[in-house]
Amino acid sequence: MLLLQVLINGILLGGLYGIMALGMSLIWGVMNIVNIAHGALIMLGAYLTYWLFTLWGWDPFLSLPLTIALLFVYGYCIQRFLLNLIVRAQLFLTLLITFGVEVVMVNLARIAWSSDLRQVTPAYAGANFAVAGLTVPYVRLWVFVTTVILSVVFLLVLEKTRLGRAIRATSEELRAARLTGIPVAHIYAVTFGLGAALAGAAGGLWGMLFPITPIMGGGLTLKSFVVAVLGGLGTMMGAIVGGLVLGLAESFTATYLGPTYPNAISFGLLVLILIFRPTGILGRRGAA
């Protein structure tokens, strides 16, 4: 019974990791930018949801579209007016500049909102239901359902729409995309905006399950990276599968080793995967 409970907890958490990684993987796959500020975007999404809830009493699930929209605009601007300026420089520089963005965002957040732990606690926060002896908190379930919906919508946008085709074309062959008249600078910005929107959504949902602080993002950036690599870089399905794997791994270690171990496991896992299987579980493409 415990085993089943742990399994369910892992899957519910995995959905959240999945959409985090989806955003990271998209930005990486299309523009070859490893966005260190990804966790800071998650943090921003979490605080937006928190303030909308605390100041005006907006339900965290209902305010999610607004959070997503704001993060999209924010991400669009960062790419369009900052990262696009150096997007073709060597990898180290693009990595470094997103590092700078993350440091600025996190510390401004510390100044503005202090380092106190906060949590989004709607009235239904504590409610559970039981099925066959298993306890499932409503919030966790709805968070999971939301992540599934977001993933599906996102994949549909990428696969079926003109915009999605433009993004994929740009990712495959930059020069050719430019020649066919795709506005590449705009597409890059939209791509980053989408990645930021997914991060923001993940943040908004995260705040209902775990405490939020300005520095919550650092570890989540790494986890998003772990999942993106675990699933195989650039494969969107891979990110979702990877998210589930990480969620399960953490759920099992937390239960069977102790609550302070999951992070050690995920980061250790990261290093091991990079060393032994840099193309990921589902990946086929070369590591370089």
Partner: protein, 317 residues
């Protein structure tokens, strides 16, 4: 030997002599600032060995700093070793750790290497959180040091050693091998350079200096905990200092450390987090406007908008 060759060496010795006498003249507060400055400069020079010369952008050098800090911490508090033995042990253990971690990780390139190193640092913090010998989450409290000046001179000595090591790299066979690896690893191997061994040695050397700095830091600051010594921000500082000053040069990292430590100190008297915001802005501005670093700008004695514009034309989309 003519006069022109001796001039820079004489200037360095003079500067060193002035620094060595500083504690007698300046306020205790200033002495503390200098110790911190020396430490940051050691870290910048240490990062420079692997990030600047070898071209492997490590985002996890703080792991070596932390290993060094905990080695001294444990040896001082639990085993009762004197600092004279504990400190070399810290350097040696950090070096060994860097070599062992480096062997597999240095096969990775680009983003993968950067993130793997970040992962190593985070893993170490989490591991330390879970170990009893390290005091887990509560940390370790050091015995009180009798003489605060000790830290000043030990840190200065380590800085001199780190700077000399970088100087040696710039004019030795080993250093040329590292630079060749940075410029083109395949060509370097084809020219007879044992790339795996060179990279691992560079990583170990870098780890040794970071470990020594961490070892002194632990005793100086008297209290260490996982969040304090495995801080991601510390890695960022190393990178900023080296890149801002000019990666792959000898005095660039020193320059970067001086500028950043001073400005951070000035800002942090207002608000600590403001200094961090400043750090982040510096990273962004350096990447945008002078990717080759401050020392390159000084060397060419020009900071022309034309160069900036050319970089943008080349790199923007």
């Amino acid at each position: 030997m003519n006069g022109a060759r001796w001039l820079p060496i004489a200037a360095c010795l003079l500067a060193l002599a002035v620094l060595a006498m500083a504690p007698a003249v300046v306020s205790p507060f200033m002495t503390q600032f200098l110790i911190n400055l020396f430490m940051l400069a050691v870290l910048a020079e240490s990062w420079n060995i692997v990030g600047g010369f070898t071209g492997y952008a490590s985002f996890g050098n703080v792991a070596f700093f932390g290993v060094g800090a905990y080695t001294t911490g444990i040896l001082l508090t639990k085993s009762g070793w004197p600092l004279a033995l504990a400190l070399p042990a810290a350097g040696a253990l950090a070096m060994l750790f860097a070599a062992l971690v480096g062997m597999p990780i240095l096969r990775l390139k680009g983003h993968y290497f950067a993130i793997a190193t970040l992962g190593v640092a985070e893993t170490m913090r989490e591991v330390v959180y879970n170990l009893e010998i390290t005091g887990a989450g509560t940390g370790l409290v050091m015995p009180i040091a009798r003489t605060p000046l000790l830290f000043f001179y030990v840190m200065l000595a380590i800085l001199v050693a780190a700077t000399l090591t970088n100087w040696w790299l710039s004019r030795s066979r080993f250093g040329y091998g590292l630079v060749a690896i940075r410029e083109d690893e395949d060509a370097a191997a084809a020219m007879g350079i044992h790339t795996a061994r060179y990279k691992t040695l560079a990583f170990a050397l870098s780890g040794a200096f970071a470990g020594l700095a961490g070892g002194v830091f632990a005793y100086w600051i008297t209290f260490i905990d996982p969040d304090g010594v495995f801080k991601v921000t510390m890695t960022i500082q190393m990178i900023i200092m080296a890149v801002f000053g000019g990666a792959g040069t000898i005095f660039g990292p020193l320059l970067g450390a001086l500028v950043l430590a001073s400005v951070s100190e000035l800002l942090s008297t207002q608000l600590v987090t403001l200094a961090e915001v400043f750090n982040g802005l510096v990273v962004i501005l350096v990447v945008l406007f002078m990717p080759k670093g401050l020392s390159d700008v000084i060397r060419r004695r020009s900071f022309r908008l034309r160069d900036v514009a050319r970089n943008f034309r080349e790199y923007r989309i």
